[in-house]
Amino acid sequence: MHLIVCLKPVPKPGTVRVDPKTHTLKRDSAQLILNPPDLYALEMAVELKETYGGKVTALMMGPPNAAELLREAYALGADEMVLLSDRAFAGSDTLATSYVLSRGIKRLEPYDLVLMGKASIDGETAQVGPETAAWLGLPSVIQVKKIQREGDHGWVVVRVREGYEEELFLSGPAVVTVEPGINDPRPPSLKRLLAVRELAPRLFSAQDLECEPEKLGLSGSPTQVLDVFAPSYQREQILLTGEPEEVAQELVSHLRTRGLI
Protein backbone atom coordinates (compact mmCIF):
# COMPACT_ATOMS: atom_id res chain seq x y z
CA MET A 1 0.00 0.00 0.00
CA HIS A 2 1.33 3.41 -0.96
CA LEU A 3 0.13 6.41 1.05
CA ILE A 4 1.15 9.93 0.08
CA VAL A 5 1.02 12.69 2.68
CA CYS A 6 1.30 16.28 1.48
CA LEU A 7 3.05 18.54 3.96
CA LYS A 8 3.36 22.30 3.90
CA PRO A 9 6.26 24.33 5.23
CA VAL A 10 4.78 27.28 7.09
CA PRO A 11 6.44 30.20 8.85
CA LYS A 12 6.70 29.72 12.57
CA PRO A 13 4.03 31.99 14.07
CA GLY A 14 5.55 35.34 14.93
CA THR A 15 8.23 35.21 12.25
CA VAL A 16 5.94 36.25 9.36
CA ARG A 17 6.73 39.28 7.23
CA VAL A 18 4.81 40.70 4.30
CA ASP A 19 6.60 41.98 1.20
CA PRO A 20 5.51 45.63 0.97
CA LYS A 21 5.67 45.56 -2.84
CA THR A 22 4.03 42.29 -3.84
CA HIS A 23 2.03 41.79 -0.63
CA THR A 24 3.05 38.16 -0.65
CA LEU A 25 4.64 36.42 2.25
CA LYS A 26 8.39 36.87 2.62
CA ARG A 27 9.38 33.31 3.30
CA ASP A 28 13.15 33.86 3.29
CA SER A 29 13.10 35.67 6.61
CA ALA A 30 10.70 33.29 8.29
CA GLN A 31 11.68 30.25 10.26
CA LEU A 32 9.89 27.28 8.71
CA ILE A 33 8.03 24.53 10.56
CA LEU A 34 5.82 21.66 9.45
CA ASN A 35 2.25 22.94 9.27
CA PRO A 36 0.86 21.63 12.60
CA PRO A 37 -2.50 20.33 11.20
CA ASP A 38 -0.50 18.21 8.70
CA LEU A 39 0.95 16.19 11.58
CA TYR A 40 -2.46 14.53 12.11
CA ALA A 41 -2.50 13.47 8.44
CA LEU A 42 1.03 12.10 8.72
CA GLU A 43 0.20 10.19 11.91
CA MET A 44 -2.94 8.80 10.24
CA ALA A 45 -0.88 7.59 7.26
CA VAL A 46 1.77 6.00 9.49
CA GLU A 47 -0.93 4.21 11.50
CA LEU A 48 -2.52 2.93 8.28
CA LYS A 49 0.86 1.64 7.14
CA GLU A 50 1.36 -0.10 10.48
CA THR A 51 -2.04 -1.77 10.12
CA TYR A 52 -1.96 -2.72 6.45
CA GLY A 53 1.70 -2.63 5.46
CA GLY A 54 3.23 -0.61 2.64
CA LYS A 55 4.97 2.76 2.69
CA VAL A 56 4.34 6.41 3.38
CA THR A 57 5.75 9.09 1.10
CA ALA A 58 6.04 12.61 2.52
CA LEU A 59 5.57 15.11 -0.31
CA MET A 60 6.27 18.79 0.00
CA MET A 61 6.41 21.82 -2.25
CA GLY A 62 8.85 24.33 -0.89
CA PRO A 63 12.21 26.02 -0.99
CA PRO A 64 15.39 23.85 -0.85
CA ASN A 65 15.80 24.48 2.90
CA ALA A 66 12.43 22.76 3.48
CA ALA A 67 14.31 19.46 3.04
CA GLU A 68 15.02 19.62 6.77
CA LEU A 69 11.26 19.45 7.45
CA LEU A 70 10.97 16.34 5.30
CA ARG A 71 13.66 14.75 7.46
CA GLU A 72 11.50 15.61 10.43
CA ALA A 73 8.60 13.82 8.69
CA TYR A 74 10.87 10.81 8.24
CA ALA A 75 11.61 10.82 11.96
CA LEU A 76 7.85 10.87 12.53
CA GLY A 77 7.39 7.71 10.46
CA ALA A 78 7.45 8.60 6.75
CA ASP A 79 9.50 6.20 4.58
CA GLU A 80 10.26 8.36 1.56
CA MET A 81 10.79 12.07 1.15
CA VAL A 82 10.01 14.06 -1.97
CA LEU A 83 10.59 17.79 -2.37
CA LEU A 84 9.05 19.74 -5.25
CA SER A 85 11.20 22.79 -5.56
CA ASP A 86 11.65 25.34 -8.30
CA ARG A 87 11.92 29.12 -8.48
CA ALA A 88 9.02 28.97 -10.94
CA PHE A 89 6.73 27.84 -8.08
CA ALA A 90 7.18 31.12 -6.16
CA GLY A 91 4.08 33.25 -5.64
CA SER A 92 1.66 30.38 -6.19
CA ASP A 93 -1.92 30.75 -5.01
CA THR A 94 -3.94 27.65 -4.12
CA LEU A 95 -4.72 26.77 -7.75
CA ALA A 96 -1.05 26.85 -8.81
CA THR A 97 0.03 25.07 -5.61
CA SER A 98 -2.49 22.28 -6.09
CA TYR A 99 -1.39 21.94 -9.71
CA VAL A 100 2.24 21.37 -8.68
CA LEU A 101 1.22 18.93 -5.94
CA SER A 102 -0.92 17.02 -8.44
CA ARG A 103 2.07 16.76 -10.81
CA GLY A 104 4.20 15.47 -7.94
CA ILE A 105 1.55 12.94 -6.92
CA LYS A 106 1.23 11.71 -10.52
CA ARG A 107 4.95 11.20 -10.57
CA LEU A 108 4.65 8.90 -7.53
CA GLU A 109 2.09 6.55 -9.10
CA PRO A 110 0.84 4.02 -8.21
CA TYR A 111 -0.66 5.09 -4.89
CA ASP A 112 -3.70 4.18 -2.82
CA LEU A 113 -4.57 7.36 -0.95
CA VAL A 114 -3.44 10.98 -0.66
CA LEU A 115 -3.73 12.61 2.77
CA MET A 116 -3.41 16.26 3.73
CA GLY A 117 -4.00 18.42 6.78
CA LYS A 118 -7.30 20.27 7.02
CA ALA A 119 -5.76 23.69 6.38
CA SER A 120 -2.47 25.52 6.78
CA ILE A 121 -1.98 27.90 9.67
CA ASP A 122 -0.72 30.67 7.37
CA GLY A 123 -3.10 30.64 4.39
CA GLU A 124 -5.98 28.92 6.21
CA THR A 125 -7.96 28.37 3.01
CA ALA A 126 -8.57 24.58 3.31
CA GLN A 127 -8.73 24.63 -0.50
CA VAL A 128 -5.64 22.79 -1.60
CA GLY A 129 -7.07 19.31 -0.85
CA PRO A 130 -10.18 19.58 -3.04
CA GLU A 131 -8.27 21.55 -5.69
CA THR A 132 -5.56 18.86 -5.91
CA ALA A 133 -8.19 16.12 -6.11
CA ALA A 134 -9.80 17.84 -9.09
CA TRP A 135 -6.47 18.17 -10.96
CA LEU A 136 -6.02 14.41 -10.48
CA GLY A 137 -9.63 13.60 -11.35
CA LEU A 138 -10.04 11.94 -7.94
CA PRO A 139 -12.82 12.21 -5.36
CA SER A 140 -12.19 14.72 -2.58
CA VAL A 141 -13.33 14.10 0.98
CA ILE A 142 -12.47 16.79 3.51
CA GLN A 143 -12.44 16.64 7.31
CA VAL A 144 -12.00 12.91 7.70
CA LYS A 145 -11.53 11.46 11.20
CA LYS A 146 -11.28 7.72 10.50
CA ILE A 147 -9.94 5.65 7.60
CA GLN A 148 -10.15 1.89 7.04
CA ARG A 149 -9.27 -0.32 4.10
CA GLU A 150 -12.23 -1.95 2.39
CA GLY A 151 -11.51 -4.72 -0.10
CA ASP A 152 -8.45 -4.59 -2.34
CA HIS A 153 -8.65 -0.97 -3.48
CA GLY A 154 -11.39 0.74 -1.51
CA TRP A 155 -11.64 2.75 1.68
CA VAL A 156 -14.27 3.49 4.27
CA VAL A 157 -13.84 6.93 5.79
CA VAL A 158 -15.78 8.95 8.37
CA ARG A 159 -16.31 12.57 7.45
CA VAL A 160 -17.15 15.22 10.05
CA ARG A 161 -20.02 17.49 9.01
CA GLU A 162 -21.89 20.18 10.90
CA GLY A 163 -23.96 18.38 13.54
CA TYR A 164 -23.30 14.84 12.30
CA GLU A 165 -20.76 12.46 10.84
CA GLU A 166 -21.08 10.24 7.80
CA GLU A 167 -19.39 7.08 6.72
CA LEU A 168 -18.44 7.00 3.06
CA PHE A 169 -17.19 4.20 0.86
CA LEU A 170 -14.52 5.16 -1.68
CA SER A 171 -14.00 2.64 -4.47
CA GLY A 172 -10.37 3.66 -5.09
CA PRO A 173 -7.75 6.37 -4.52
CA ALA A 174 -8.96 9.74 -3.29
CA VAL A 175 -7.61 12.91 -1.72
CA VAL A 176 -8.70 13.29 1.88
CA THR A 177 -8.00 16.01 4.42
CA VAL A 178 -7.69 14.94 8.03
CA GLU A 179 -9.56 16.62 10.87
CA PRO A 180 -7.11 18.08 13.41
CA GLY A 181 -7.01 16.57 16.89
CA ILE A 182 -8.23 13.09 15.94
CA ASN A 183 -5.03 11.26 16.89
CA ASP A 184 -1.90 11.79 18.95
CA PRO A 185 1.01 12.45 16.60
CA ARG A 186 3.94 10.42 17.94
CA PRO A 187 7.20 12.06 18.95
CA PRO A 188 10.12 11.75 16.51
CA SER A 189 12.01 8.47 16.81
CA LEU A 190 15.64 8.88 17.81
CA LYS A 191 16.65 5.92 15.65
CA ARG A 192 14.98 7.42 12.61
CA LEU A 193 16.44 10.86 13.38
CA LEU A 194 19.91 9.32 13.25
CA ALA A 195 19.16 7.28 10.13
CA VAL A 196 17.78 10.24 8.19
CA ARG A 197 21.01 12.19 8.59
CA GLU A 198 22.41 10.00 5.82
CA LEU A 199 19.39 10.51 3.59
CA ALA A 200 18.21 13.31 1.33
CA PRO A 201 14.78 13.86 -0.20
CA ARG A 202 14.28 13.18 -3.88
CA LEU A 203 14.10 16.54 -5.59
CA PHE A 204 11.79 17.33 -8.52
CA SER A 205 11.85 20.57 -10.51
CA ALA A 206 9.09 21.96 -12.75
CA GLN A 207 10.82 20.33 -15.69
CA ASP A 208 11.10 16.94 -13.96
CA LEU A 209 7.36 17.10 -13.33
CA GLU A 210 6.60 18.13 -16.93
CA CYS A 211 4.61 21.10 -15.69
CA GLU A 212 2.95 23.49 -18.11
CA PRO A 213 4.90 26.71 -17.41
CA GLU A 214 1.84 28.99 -17.63
CA LYS A 215 0.22 27.06 -14.77
CA LEU A 216 3.06 27.85 -12.36
CA GLY A 217 3.76 30.60 -9.86
CA LEU A 218 2.27 34.03 -10.39
CA SER A 219 1.19 33.34 -13.97
CA GLY A 220 -0.66 30.22 -12.86
CA SER A 221 -2.37 32.04 -10.01
CA PRO A 222 -5.72 33.60 -10.92
CA THR A 223 -5.96 35.46 -7.61
CA GLN A 224 -3.89 38.56 -6.87
CA VAL A 225 -3.46 40.37 -3.61
CA LEU A 226 -4.54 43.96 -4.26
CA ASP A 227 -3.80 45.37 -0.84
CA VAL A 228 -3.27 44.52 2.80
CA PHE A 229 -4.56 46.68 5.61
CA ALA A 230 -5.47 46.75 9.28
CA PRO A 231 -9.22 46.41 9.73
CA SER A 232 -11.19 49.41 10.97
CA TYR A 233 -14.24 49.22 13.17
CA GLN A 234 -16.81 51.77 14.21
CA ARG A 235 -18.23 51.24 17.65
CA GLU A 236 -19.64 53.47 20.36
CA GLN A 237 -16.80 52.74 22.78
CA ILE A 238 -18.67 53.78 25.92
CA LEU A 239 -16.57 53.10 29.01
CA LEU A 240 -18.50 52.07 32.12
CA THR A 241 -16.74 52.86 35.39
CA GLY A 242 -17.42 52.46 39.08
CA GLU A 243 -17.93 49.67 41.58
CA PRO A 244 -18.74 46.24 40.09
CA GLU A 245 -22.38 46.46 41.27
CA GLU A 246 -22.85 49.88 39.67
CA VAL A 247 -21.21 48.77 36.44
CA ALA A 248 -23.34 45.62 36.35
CA GLN A 249 -26.52 47.61 36.91
CA GLU A 250 -25.56 50.06 34.16
CA LEU A 251 -24.83 47.18 31.79
CA VAL A 252 -28.22 45.63 32.49
CA SER A 253 -29.99 48.91 31.78
CA HIS A 254 -28.08 49.23 28.49
CA LEU A 255 -29.18 45.72 27.56
CA ARG A 256 -32.76 46.45 28.57
CA THR A 257 -32.87 49.68 26.52
CA ARG A 258 -31.84 47.66 23.50
CA GLY A 259 -34.43 45.00 24.22
CA LEU A 260 -31.80 42.37 24.83
CA ILE A 261 -33.01 41.23 28.23
Binding site: S98, D122, E131, E166, L226, E245, R258
Partner: protein, 333 residues
Protein backbone atom coordinates in the same frame (compact mmCIF):
# COMPACT_ATOMS: atom_id res chain seq x y z
CA UNK B 1 -31.38 34.79 -22.26
CA UNK B 2 -29.88 38.18 -21.66
CA UNK B 3 -26.25 39.19 -21.69
CA UNK B 4 -26.22 40.88 -18.32
CA UNK B 5 -23.42 39.67 -16.03
CA UNK B 6 -24.65 36.84 -13.86
CA UNK B 7 -24.02 36.78 -10.14
CA UNK B 8 -24.50 33.24 -8.84
CA UNK B 9 -25.08 31.75 -5.44
CA UNK B 10 -24.78 28.01 -4.91
CA UNK B 11 -27.66 27.04 -2.63
CA UNK B 12 -26.58 24.40 -0.15
CA UNK B 13 -29.36 22.08 0.92
CA UNK B 14 -29.60 18.84 2.77
CA UNK B 15 -32.71 16.67 2.48
CA UNK B 16 -34.58 19.65 1.10
CA UNK B 17 -33.50 21.95 3.93
CA UNK B 18 -31.48 24.93 2.72
CA UNK B 19 -28.57 26.17 4.81
CA UNK B 20 -29.22 29.74 5.95
CA UNK B 21 -25.82 30.82 4.63
CA UNK B 22 -27.24 30.41 1.11
CA UNK B 23 -29.86 33.08 1.76
CA UNK B 24 -27.31 35.32 3.46
CA UNK B 25 -25.25 35.04 0.28
CA UNK B 26 -28.25 35.84 -1.91
CA UNK B 27 -28.67 39.06 0.07
CA UNK B 28 -25.07 40.10 -0.52
CA UNK B 29 -25.02 38.86 -4.12
CA UNK B 30 -28.09 41.00 -4.81
CA UNK B 31 -26.04 44.08 -3.94
CA UNK B 32 -23.22 42.92 -6.21
CA UNK B 33 -25.68 42.25 -9.07
CA UNK B 34 -27.07 45.76 -8.65
CA UNK B 35 -23.59 47.33 -8.72
CA UNK B 36 -22.72 45.28 -11.80
CA UNK B 37 -26.05 46.01 -13.46
CA UNK B 38 -26.29 42.25 -13.64
CA UNK B 39 -28.73 39.55 -12.71
CA UNK B 40 -28.94 37.59 -9.44
CA UNK B 41 -29.27 33.87 -10.04
CA UNK B 42 -29.16 30.78 -7.83
CA UNK B 43 -28.00 27.24 -8.45
CA UNK B 44 -29.82 24.40 -6.71
CA UNK B 45 -28.70 20.77 -6.89
CA UNK B 46 -30.37 17.85 -5.15
CA UNK B 47 -33.23 15.42 -5.43
CA UNK B 48 -36.81 16.54 -4.89
CA UNK B 49 -35.67 20.08 -4.20
CA UNK B 50 -37.97 22.26 -6.30
CA UNK B 51 -39.23 23.84 -3.07
CA UNK B 52 -35.66 25.01 -2.34
CA UNK B 53 -35.52 26.62 -5.79
CA UNK B 54 -38.75 28.48 -5.02
CA UNK B 55 -37.30 29.60 -1.68
CA UNK B 56 -34.27 30.99 -3.52
CA UNK B 57 -36.65 33.17 -5.53
CA UNK B 58 -38.34 34.31 -2.31
CA UNK B 59 -34.89 35.38 -1.08
CA UNK B 60 -34.17 37.41 -4.20
CA UNK B 61 -32.99 35.15 -7.06
CA UNK B 62 -34.39 36.26 -10.40
CA UNK B 63 -33.65 32.91 -11.96
CA UNK B 64 -32.75 29.50 -10.52
CA UNK B 65 -30.87 26.75 -12.34
CA UNK B 66 -32.13 23.49 -10.93
CA UNK B 67 -30.57 20.06 -11.36
CA UNK B 68 -32.87 17.54 -9.72
CA UNK B 69 -31.51 14.01 -9.92
CA UNK B 70 -31.42 10.94 -7.63
CA UNK B 71 -27.60 10.89 -7.91
CA UNK B 72 -27.66 14.21 -6.03
CA UNK B 73 -29.80 12.87 -3.14
CA UNK B 74 -26.95 13.51 -0.70
CA UNK B 75 -23.74 15.46 -1.11
CA UNK B 76 -20.81 13.91 -2.84
CA UNK B 77 -18.03 15.97 -4.31
CA UNK B 78 -17.91 14.37 -7.75
CA UNK B 79 -21.54 14.61 -8.98
CA UNK B 80 -22.11 18.01 -7.38
CA UNK B 81 -18.94 19.45 -8.90
CA UNK B 82 -19.84 17.89 -12.24
CA UNK B 83 -23.25 19.58 -12.18
CA UNK B 84 -22.07 23.04 -11.17
CA UNK B 85 -19.08 23.01 -13.55
CA UNK B 86 -21.39 22.10 -16.41
CA UNK B 87 -23.73 24.99 -15.57
CA UNK B 88 -20.79 27.41 -15.32
CA UNK B 89 -19.51 26.35 -18.75
CA UNK B 90 -22.93 26.85 -20.25
CA UNK B 91 -23.93 30.17 -18.63
CA UNK B 92 -20.55 31.72 -17.79
CA UNK B 93 -21.32 33.53 -14.53
CA UNK B 94 -19.18 36.51 -13.49
CA UNK B 95 -19.29 35.60 -9.82
CA UNK B 96 -19.99 32.37 -7.92
CA UNK B 97 -20.42 32.41 -4.14
CA UNK B 98 -20.66 29.38 -1.86
CA UNK B 99 -21.02 28.96 1.91
CA UNK B 100 -17.77 28.17 3.74
CA UNK B 101 -19.30 25.02 5.22
CA UNK B 102 -17.80 21.52 5.02
CA UNK B 103 -19.81 20.96 1.87
CA UNK B 104 -19.12 24.38 0.37
CA UNK B 105 -15.37 24.27 0.93
CA UNK B 106 -15.10 20.80 -0.58
CA UNK B 107 -17.22 21.67 -3.59
CA UNK B 108 -15.70 25.11 -4.26
CA UNK B 109 -12.16 23.73 -4.57
CA UNK B 110 -13.19 21.14 -7.13
CA UNK B 111 -15.13 23.65 -9.21
CA UNK B 112 -12.30 26.20 -9.15
CA UNK B 113 -9.76 23.68 -10.44
CA UNK B 114 -12.06 22.32 -13.13
CA UNK B 115 -12.69 25.85 -14.41
CA UNK B 116 -9.08 26.89 -13.70
CA UNK B 117 -10.21 30.00 -11.90
CA UNK B 118 -9.36 31.68 -8.62
CA UNK B 119 -11.00 30.90 -5.30
CA UNK B 120 -10.85 32.98 -2.14
CA UNK B 121 -11.79 31.34 1.15
CA UNK B 122 -13.64 32.74 4.17
CA UNK B 123 -14.27 36.12 2.67
CA UNK B 124 -15.49 38.78 5.11
CA UNK B 125 -16.21 41.54 2.59
CA UNK B 126 -17.32 41.64 -1.07
CA UNK B 127 -17.67 44.68 -3.29
CA UNK B 128 -17.53 45.62 -6.95
CA UNK B 129 -14.68 47.91 -8.00
CA UNK B 130 -16.55 50.81 -9.66
CA UNK B 131 -13.97 51.17 -12.44
CA UNK B 132 -12.81 47.70 -13.42
CA UNK B 133 -16.08 46.02 -12.33
CA UNK B 134 -13.95 43.33 -10.75
CA UNK B 135 -14.98 41.73 -7.49
CA UNK B 136 -12.89 42.86 -4.52
CA UNK B 137 -12.78 40.06 -1.97
CA UNK B 138 -11.57 40.84 1.54
CA UNK B 139 -10.35 38.16 3.93
CA UNK B 140 -8.09 37.80 6.93
CA UNK B 141 -4.55 36.94 5.86
CA UNK B 142 -1.27 35.74 7.33
CA UNK B 143 -2.74 33.98 10.31
CA UNK B 144 -5.37 36.63 10.89
CA UNK B 145 -2.92 39.41 11.63
CA UNK B 146 -4.04 41.63 8.79
CA UNK B 147 -6.79 41.90 6.17
CA UNK B 148 -6.10 41.39 2.47
CA UNK B 149 -8.18 42.43 -0.51
CA UNK B 150 -7.95 39.96 -3.35
CA UNK B 151 -8.83 40.16 -7.03
CA UNK B 152 -9.34 37.56 -9.71
CA UNK B 153 -9.11 39.87 -12.71
CA UNK B 154 -8.56 37.54 -15.66
CA UNK B 155 -10.53 34.40 -14.86
CA UNK B 156 -14.22 33.74 -14.50
CA UNK B 157 -16.18 33.10 -12.43
CA UNK B 158 -14.66 35.03 -9.55
CA UNK B 159 -15.24 32.56 -6.71
CA UNK B 160 -15.47 33.00 -2.96
CA UNK B 161 -16.57 30.98 0.01
CA UNK B 162 -18.22 32.94 2.81
CA UNK B 163 -18.85 31.73 6.33
CA UNK B 164 -22.31 31.59 7.84
CA UNK B 165 -23.25 34.84 9.62
CA UNK B 166 -20.79 36.99 7.72
CA UNK B 167 -23.65 38.76 5.96
CA UNK B 168 -27.15 39.46 7.30
CA UNK B 169 -30.17 37.39 6.29
CA UNK B 170 -32.16 39.31 3.65
CA UNK B 171 -35.95 39.63 3.91
CA UNK B 172 -37.96 36.75 2.46
CA UNK B 173 -40.78 37.62 0.11
CA UNK B 174 -42.79 34.56 -1.00
CA UNK B 175 -44.74 36.66 -3.52
CA UNK B 176 -41.59 37.35 -5.54
CA UNK B 177 -41.63 35.95 -9.07
CA UNK B 178 -38.74 34.24 -10.79
CA UNK B 179 -37.87 31.64 -13.36
CA UNK B 180 -36.77 28.06 -12.67
CA UNK B 181 -34.58 26.59 -15.42
CA UNK B 182 -34.22 22.81 -15.26
CA UNK B 183 -30.97 21.26 -16.37
CA UNK B 184 -29.72 17.66 -16.67
CA UNK B 185 -26.91 16.23 -14.56
CA UNK B 186 -25.68 13.84 -17.24
CA UNK B 187 -23.97 11.47 -14.79
CA UNK B 188 -25.18 8.06 -13.68
CA UNK B 189 -24.81 6.42 -10.27
CA UNK B 190 -22.35 3.83 -11.70
CA UNK B 191 -19.93 6.63 -12.52
CA UNK B 192 -19.79 7.91 -8.94
CA UNK B 193 -16.88 6.52 -6.91
CA UNK B 194 -18.19 7.45 -3.46
CA UNK B 195 -21.21 6.03 -1.61
CA UNK B 196 -22.63 6.93 1.76
CA UNK B 197 -22.71 3.87 4.02
CA UNK B 198 -23.87 5.34 7.29
CA UNK B 199 -25.08 8.49 8.93
CA UNK B 200 -24.03 9.16 12.53
CA UNK B 201 -25.88 11.97 14.33
CA UNK B 202 -23.88 13.74 17.03
CA UNK B 203 -25.02 14.53 20.55
CA UNK B 204 -25.87 18.11 21.37
CA UNK B 205 -23.54 20.39 19.50
CA UNK B 206 -22.77 23.96 20.38
CA UNK B 207 -24.71 26.22 18.06
CA UNK B 208 -22.43 29.22 18.23
CA UNK B 209 -23.01 30.53 14.74
CA UNK B 210 -26.70 31.21 15.24
CA UNK B 211 -26.66 32.01 18.98
CA UNK B 212 -28.24 35.35 19.95
CA UNK B 213 -26.10 35.84 23.03
CA UNK B 214 -22.50 34.69 23.41
CA UNK B 215 -20.49 34.96 26.61
CA UNK B 216 -16.89 34.41 25.60
CA UNK B 217 -13.79 33.86 27.67
CA UNK B 218 -10.09 34.35 27.06
CA UNK B 219 -6.79 34.02 28.85
CA UNK B 220 -7.94 36.61 31.41
CA UNK B 221 -10.07 33.87 32.99
CA UNK B 222 -6.88 32.51 34.49
CA UNK B 223 -7.90 28.88 34.13
CA UNK B 224 -10.54 26.45 32.83
CA UNK B 225 -12.69 26.78 35.97
CA UNK B 226 -13.41 30.39 34.98
CA UNK B 227 -15.77 29.05 32.33
CA UNK B 228 -18.17 27.87 35.07
CA UNK B 229 -18.99 31.50 35.76
CA UNK B 230 -19.45 32.25 32.06
CA UNK B 231 -21.69 29.20 31.64
CA UNK B 232 -23.92 30.44 34.42
CA UNK B 233 -24.25 33.87 32.83
CA UNK B 234 -24.81 32.39 29.37
CA UNK B 235 -27.54 30.10 30.71
CA UNK B 236 -29.22 33.05 32.37
CA UNK B 237 -29.19 35.03 29.13
CA UNK B 238 -30.22 32.06 26.99
CA UNK B 239 -26.90 32.06 25.15
CA UNK B 240 -23.85 29.96 24.38
CA UNK B 241 -20.29 30.06 25.66
CA UNK B 242 -17.53 31.15 23.28
CA UNK B 243 -13.77 31.20 23.66
CA UNK B 244 -10.61 32.66 22.22
CA UNK B 245 -8.09 30.54 20.37
CA UNK B 246 -5.54 30.87 23.19
CA UNK B 247 -7.72 29.12 25.74
CA UNK B 248 -8.84 26.41 23.32
CA UNK B 249 -5.18 25.75 22.50
CA UNK B 250 -4.51 25.64 26.25
CA UNK B 251 -7.19 22.96 26.59
CA UNK B 252 -9.49 24.99 28.88
CA UNK B 253 -12.52 24.39 26.66
CA UNK B 254 -13.27 22.38 23.51
CA UNK B 255 -12.68 23.61 19.96
CA UNK B 256 -16.38 23.84 19.11
CA UNK B 257 -16.52 26.92 21.37
CA UNK B 258 -13.80 28.78 19.51
CA UNK B 259 -14.66 32.11 17.92
CA UNK B 260 -12.37 33.67 15.34
CA UNK B 261 -10.59 32.98 12.13
CA UNK B 262 -9.66 29.43 13.10
CA UNK B 263 -13.01 28.92 14.85
CA UNK B 264 -16.53 30.10 14.14
CA UNK B 265 -17.80 33.38 12.77
CA UNK B 266 -20.65 34.66 14.91
CA UNK B 267 -23.20 37.44 14.75
CA UNK B 268 -25.11 37.49 18.04
CA UNK B 269 -27.20 40.35 19.37
CA UNK B 270 -24.80 40.52 22.34
CA UNK B 271 -21.19 39.40 22.43
CA UNK B 272 -19.66 39.61 25.87
CA UNK B 273 -15.87 39.26 25.73
CA UNK B 274 -14.42 38.42 29.14
CA UNK B 275 -10.67 38.54 29.54
CA UNK B 276 -10.12 38.47 25.77
CA UNK B 277 -7.45 40.86 24.51
CA UNK B 278 -8.91 41.00 20.99
CA UNK B 279 -6.31 39.92 18.46
CA UNK B 280 -7.47 40.40 14.84
CA UNK B 281 -7.66 36.62 14.64
CA UNK B 282 -10.50 36.79 17.19
CA UNK B 283 -12.05 40.05 16.03
CA UNK B 284 -12.73 38.87 12.48
CA UNK B 285 -14.95 36.16 13.93
CA UNK B 286 -17.17 38.44 16.06
CA UNK B 287 -16.91 41.97 14.64
CA UNK B 288 -20.42 41.78 13.16
CA UNK B 289 -22.11 41.24 16.52
CA UNK B 290 -24.86 43.81 17.18
CA UNK B 291 -23.51 44.87 20.58
CA UNK B 292 -20.03 44.06 21.82
CA UNK B 293 -19.29 44.29 25.52
CA UNK B 294 -15.72 43.88 26.72
CA UNK B 295 -14.43 43.25 30.22
CA UNK B 296 -10.68 43.37 30.63
CA UNK B 297 -8.22 44.47 33.27
CA UNK B 298 -5.95 46.03 30.65
CA UNK B 299 -7.31 49.40 29.46
CA UNK B 300 -5.05 49.15 26.40
CA UNK B 301 -6.51 45.82 25.23
CA UNK B 302 -7.46 46.07 21.51
CA UNK B 303 -10.86 44.56 22.29
CA UNK B 304 -11.96 47.96 23.70
CA UNK B 305 -11.49 49.59 20.30
CA UNK B 306 -14.29 47.48 18.86
CA UNK B 307 -16.52 47.37 21.92
CA UNK B 308 -19.73 49.37 22.28
CA UNK B 309 -19.52 49.02 26.03
CA UNK B 310 -16.22 48.58 27.81
CA UNK B 311 -15.48 47.78 31.43
CA UNK B 312 -11.93 48.04 32.69
CA UNK B 313 -11.97 45.73 35.66
CA UNK B 314 -11.70 42.28 37.15
CA UNK B 315 -14.16 39.94 35.51
CA UNK B 316 -14.32 37.91 38.74
CA UNK B 317 -15.91 40.95 40.37
CA UNK B 318 -17.95 42.21 37.44
CA UNK B 319 -19.48 38.92 36.22
CA UNK B 320 -20.87 37.79 39.61
CA UNK B 321 -22.34 41.29 40.04
CA UNK B 322 -23.76 41.06 36.54
CA UNK B 323 -25.29 37.64 37.25
CA UNK B 324 -27.00 39.11 40.33
CA UNK B 325 -28.20 42.17 38.39
CA UNK B 326 -29.61 40.03 35.58
CA UNK B 327 -31.37 37.78 38.11
CA UNK B 328 -32.90 40.85 39.76
CA UNK B 329 -33.94 42.22 36.39
CA UNK B 330 -35.54 38.93 35.40
CA UNK B 331 -37.23 38.68 38.80
CA UNK B 332 -39.05 41.91 37.97
CA UNK B 333 -40.63 40.51 34.84
Amino acid sequence: MNDKPRVWVFVEQEEGQAHLVSWELLGKAGELARDLEGVLEAVVLGHGVEEVAREAIAYGAERVYLIDDPVLAYYRNQPYAHGVVQLCRKYRPEILLLGATTLGRDLAGSIATSLETGLTADVTGLEIDPESKNLIMTRPAFGGNIMASILCPDHRPQMSTVRPRTFPLPPRDPSRQGEIVREELGLSEDEVRVKRVDFIPKDRTVNLEYAEVIVSGGRGLGGPEGFDLLRELARLLGGEVGASRAVVDAGWISYEHQVGQTGKTVRPKVYLACGISGAIQHRVGMQNSDVIIAINTDPEAPIFRIADLGIVGDLYQVIPALIEAVKREKGHE
